[in-house]
């Protein structure tokens, strides 16, 4: 876009030294930025940088402690969401704020002003949906819709209020690349109509592709304004994190193909385990020593069930469906699998991987009391924990993984998401497992910690272990994996070579196309 064009635009929203304090934490500290009419403006920042707090103040769910918000040049105190809507600010939430047991039309009606008769909502919603290419059935129950469809409902709901400014909070985190592309087309259409969009993301290539200007937040402060098209993804990342992120080193492996198979899964099938569960269908793959094997897919396509089956949370009748170093372990429990050399890191950190109210040393014992009984337990049948041995292991993990914590041995609940994840993975690395299966290794983890986690997973594979990574983050998988397979509706695609596969191919596989069609 030409600079002269930008200069002619009128300012829509300006934020001046906006501050919000929670206790001793300055979630937003003197934030300044502005958005013009017909502009897509990016708000970039890591988890915890203060993006959500800022947006909540713009939408009236939080009140600022200092500074002001100017709307079309006039200072406004936005006391509640309905007032924000009245001004012309609409919001599409990151975690959808939809009602599962209500129909699409009813969901939409709830956010329209009370004067709209309920009977007219359906027709109006479908009219707007058609205009912006967001096809949707107004009578469907929201609980039955896919994630992408739910997002469309959110967007339609927002557009029906005819906002001048639309706030989108991490909109593509749940979409396939193709669905994201459709979203971008809708957003570009809106921009052409003169609407402004505040686009919150930490995905740099999207921001570069879509946004006119960007404001970067770090630790609650604005660290810079820039024009994304003039930046590189790494320069944007450096602004976000405050230092250059170490790029991950993945050295091509000469011996690839000639190595022994550590882990194989043969025609693993499993019926659905509950009303909202996905069946697993004929899943087959091998992972040789030294390989990082990636499993991609949109959430809810059986990855969770697959992890349960591989880790032994759910046992298989046919033991030979899962082989570890040639040993059939399909009917073995988690601890038996650990003793055979496997290690696991589930998606949910609390309640699955760690216990928030136990100390870090106790959490170390949780996954290792069986596999390393000699090291950590004494007293024969009494099985008494040895605190000194646990403490020294903890110190080793903390050192190698750079876990930042307060105090010597605090409760796990006091750690931030990234540090806890480093501890959980460090606990497994420390055993030198021959197989590590990890689900969403960097979910909710800041960029610095995420880079470290990825590097340590690659290092583990280099040392001769097989590593299986289940993730929804395609960039992450492309960065660290040797091969990537895609889960779709409980089926797994042919594994693709990460060095040659395109994002488009993976995207099609995520959408359910078979390998022949996608390639």
């Amino acid at each position: 876009m030409a600079a002269s064009e930008i200069a002619q635009r009128k300012q829509l929203l300006a934020v001046e030294s906006l501050t919000k304090v929670f206790g001793t934490l300055k979630a937003n500290d003197g934030v300044d930025f502005d958005i013009d009419e017909g502009e897509i403006h990016a708000l970039l920042g890591e988890n915890g940088a203060g993006k959500s707090t800022l947006v909540k103040m713009l939408f009236g769910t939080l009140q600022p402690d200092g500074g002001q918000i100017l709307w079309r040049g006039n200072p406004q105190i936005i006391t509640k969401p309905s007032f924000a809507r009245q001004l012309g600010i609409g919001m599409v939430f990151q975690h959808f704020s939809l009602f599962d047991s209500l129909s699409v039309a009813e969901n939409i009606a709830l956010s329209l002003d009370a004067a709209t008769p309920l009977s007219k909502v359906s027709a109006e919603a479908e009219r707007v949906a058609d205009k912006y290419g967001l096809s949707i059935n107004a009578e469907a129950m929201v609980g039955d819709l896919s994630v992408g469809e739910r997002q469309r409902v959110e967007i339609i709901r927002c557009l029906l209020q005819q906002p001048d400014l639309i706030i989108l909070d991490e909109p593509t985190s749940v979409l396939t690349p193709q669905e994201s592309e459709r979203l971008f087309e809708t957003l570009e259409l809106l921009r052409r109509e003169g609407k402004s969009i505040l686009y919150i993301s930490h995905k740099l290539d999207e921001v570069k592709r879509l946004c006119d200007r960007a404001t970067v937040l770090r630790h609650g402060k604005v660290v810079g304004h820039c024009i994304p098209s003039e930046e590189t993804p790494s320069s944007l990342a450096a602004m976000m994190v405050g230092e250059n992120i170490h790029t991950i080193r993945k050295v091509a492996d000469e011996a690839a193909g000639a190595r022994e198979t550590v882990f194989s899964v043969n025609k693993l099938s499993q019926p659905p385990t509950g009303p909202f569960s996905t069946a697993l269908k004929d899943i087959t793959f091998d992972v040789p020593a030294g390989e990082v094997f990636g499993i991609a897919g949109v959430a809810g396509n059986g990855q969770f069930e697959l992890f349960e089956a591989l880790s032994g949370e759910r046992l298989q009748k046919d033991a030979s469906m899962i082989l570890l170093r040639g040993e059939a372990i399909g009917n073995k429990t988690i601890n038996e699998r650990r003793m055979a050399g496997a290690a696991f890191s589930p998606e949910e950190r609390f309640g699955h991987a760690a216990v928030a109210t136990l100390s870090l040393a106790d959490n170390v014992l949780l996954s290792r009391h069986a596999s390393d009984a000699k090291a950590y337990l004494s007293g024969g049948l009494l099985r008494i924990a040895k605190p000194s041995a646990l403490k020294s292991t903890l110190a080793r993990i903390v050192k190698t993984m750079d876990v930042r914590k307060s105090g010597d041995n605090p409760d796990a609940g006091t750690l931030s998401g990234g540090n806890l994840q480093k501890l959980i993975l460090g606990r497994e690395f420390d055993r030198q497992p021959s197989l590590l299966i990890v689900d969403q290794p960097t979910w909710g983890v800041d960029a610095g910690a995420a880079a470290r986690i990825r590097q340590s997973l690659i290092d583990l594979s280099k040392s001769g272990s097989a590593v299986v990574v289940i993730s929804q983050d395609l960039d992450e998988l492309l960065e660290m994996c040797d091969r990537i397979a895609v889960m779709s509706e409980g089926e797994m695609s042919e594994p693709q070579q990460a060095s040659t596969v395109t994002r488009e191919t993976l995207g099609l596989l995520m959408g359910g196309a078979n390998a022949g069609q996608a390639a």
Binding site: F22, G60, T61, L62, K80, P81, S82, R85, F93, F96, S97, L98, F99, D100, S101, L102, E106, A109, L110, S111, A114, L118, M141, G143, P275
Partner: protein, 308 residues
């Protein structure tokens, strides 16, 4: 069967069904907002004793009804303050409310025992009550019966056809989302809880002013619990509650007659029949999982604390 006998039977069934219907409709609104109030029994018995006492003192059954409604609403407000503002556990608080109601009503009603009550008179609606059979059945009843019928229709329309009803359902489905939309979750729930309390109070007044116009301790005899069960088994739908309440009433009356005739079945078994029959029928009609899922308030029983 002559029309006279049929009419008499229906009237007794309606009398047995009306308090259940009213209490269950009130609880339906409460649960649709996502609050589980297990104190229905306690609110009902408080309504019964207040209604009886107020009617005694003023000599007017109508003032008794008004007093019972106010008493039920205020009593439920106590539950509201505890569970909504102070976010206590709804199950424990509801159970305490029942225990408190049973105890307090016994104390308040100590001097009422044995007194002849003031019976609520039937209102004959002109012209309509002259229709053969139906006139007697539908249009020569007491005020609370008419209210119960109007309430059923009004609540059905309110819940499924009005915006306020949609707001109520949205709060019960996902209070976090409702809050994000700017809906005042606690206000909706307070209103729902107090409406439920008022209904339970009215249902109690029916017991002590119509069903058996006198006061005996613990006179609700578990009807509050049946009302609670009706709401769940009726999948939170008003018209099914009518069916359940009338079925319960019918079997209650049938087993009374069976006992009076000296049928050779143990009386305990006969007394439990209405409960068993109602539950079986309602379980059978709620086997459609999808419909049940659609109607179950997803945030039922979960406390809501607005985030910072």
């Amino acid at each position: 069967m002559t029309p006279e006998i049929a009419t008499a039977i229906f009237l007794t069934i309606a009398t047995a069904a009306t308090p259940l219907l009213i209490a269950a409709l009130g609880e339906l609104v409460v649960e649709r907002s996502g609050v589980l109030n297990l104190g229905v029994e306690g609110m009902m018995v408080m309504g019964a004793v207040t209604g009886f006492g107020a009617a005694q003192i003023t000599g007017s059954a109508y003032l008794g009804i008004v007093a019972a409604i106010i008493c039920g609403a205020l009593f439920s407000l106590l539950f509201g303050i505890l569970t909504l503002s102070l976010a206590t556990n709804q199950v424990a608080t509801g159970l305490s409310l029942t225990l408190l109601g049973l105890g307090a009503s016994g104390m308040i009603g100590e001097n009422f025992i044995g007194l002849p009550g003031v019976k609520l008179k039937a209102i004959e609606i002109p012209l309509l009550s002259d229709i053969p059979v139906i006139g007697k059945v539908l249009f020569s009843q007491d005020l609370i019966f008419y209210i119960s019928i109007l309430l059923t229709i009004a609540i059905w329309y309110f819940v499924f056809r009005t915006r306020a009803g949609l707001t109520l359902r949205s709060v019960g489905d996902n209070h976090t989302s409702a809050h994000a939309l700017g809906i005042n979750v606690l206000k909706v729930r307070y209103l729902a809880v107090m409406f439920g309390g008022a209904c339970a109070g009215l249902a109690g007044a029916h017991l002590s002013l119509v069903y058996t116009p006198q006061w005996t301790e613990n006179m609700t005899a578990g009807r509050g619990w049946i009302a609670l069960a009706l709401v769940v088994f009726a999948s939170w739908r008003p018209l099914r509650i009518v069916a359940g309440a009338y079925l319960f009433g019918a079997v209650t009356i049938a087993q009374f007659h069976a006992q009076a005739q000296g049928v050779a079945i143990p009386s305990q078994l006969l007394s439990s029949l209405p409960y068993i029959a109602t539950i079986i029928v309602l379980v059978l009609i709620s086997t459609n999982k999808r419909m049940t899922m659609k109607n179950t308030p997803a945030s039922l029983g979960k406390p809501f604390v607005p985030d910072r």
